[in-house]
Symmetry: C2
Subunit: 130 residues, 2 copies
Amino acid sequence: MAKVRHTRFDCSPGCSVEAAIRLIDGKWKCVVLYHLLDEGTLRFNEIRRRIPSVTQRMLTNQLRELEDDGLVHRKVYAQVPPKVEYSMTELGRSLAPIISALKVWGDENIGRFGTPLAVDADQPRIRQST
Amino acid sequence: MAKVRHTRFDCSPGCSVEAAIRLIDGKWKCVVLYHLLDEGTLRFNEIRRRIPSVTQRMLTNQLRELEDDGLVHRKVYAQVPPKVEYSMTELGRSLAPIISALKVWGDENIGRFGTPLAVDADQPRIRQST
DNA sequence: ATCAACAGTATCCTTTTTGACACTATATGC
DNA sequence: GCATATAGTGTCAAAAAGGATACTGTTGAT
């Protein structure tokens, strides 16, 4: 059987890094987390406006997963023009060092590997413009 | 190539987070990075043995991407039983705080989501510690 | 002569993720 | 009556990721 030789992080007994990254893996999750950590409470469309290239469906998906993982709290107001507020839970806030480390690293190194999202129009990497 | 200044990021400051996470996104990348950070230099099959559930193809893929991103250095010895050594580049080592933050968080919270990777068959699917 | 070890490739296939688009219902403002 | 804003859903299709398996060519050991 799998004897645990590495008692620290190995993929069998407790791949804690894997576990952690699974929560923030997803095309938009970390961006959402960043904004919620940064601004506290945001409504659905406020988040959308901060992430222009996310679709409604995707944002909903990501928020639902974050909610299911207990990282984000979703507060629905029983109003007729709907109002839903998103904020970080305590558990979610405990991710702050990770998000922060990612941001620090990204800020310092972003010039190295190019644009993650479509910033320049002349590079048809993902989308083909019509 | 287009050096994108941070201010050019109209998709909000969260983009650098996004950029950073893209590098370590991938099912096995962070595990590979961990082992290379931990042990310095490893040969291909040494990495394989440390990550039993990764396939050859996947490991090759992940290593190639890490190499392309400049995080990992690949040194090929012109020998006839092939010998290839992998190690972290300086840039790769600069990721250490991120990997470390992920590990710290994961270690503290892994009981929350159960086993991230069911590697061996007789592991209980749901593991709860309290 | 056969086999294992090395570091991969190549091919096929399934699953997951993501995108595009249309649609819901209600209230307010014009 | 019509458009707008709200916070979504639903469906279909494409793309990407990942898994299984087989194969490469050489050397040294059995």
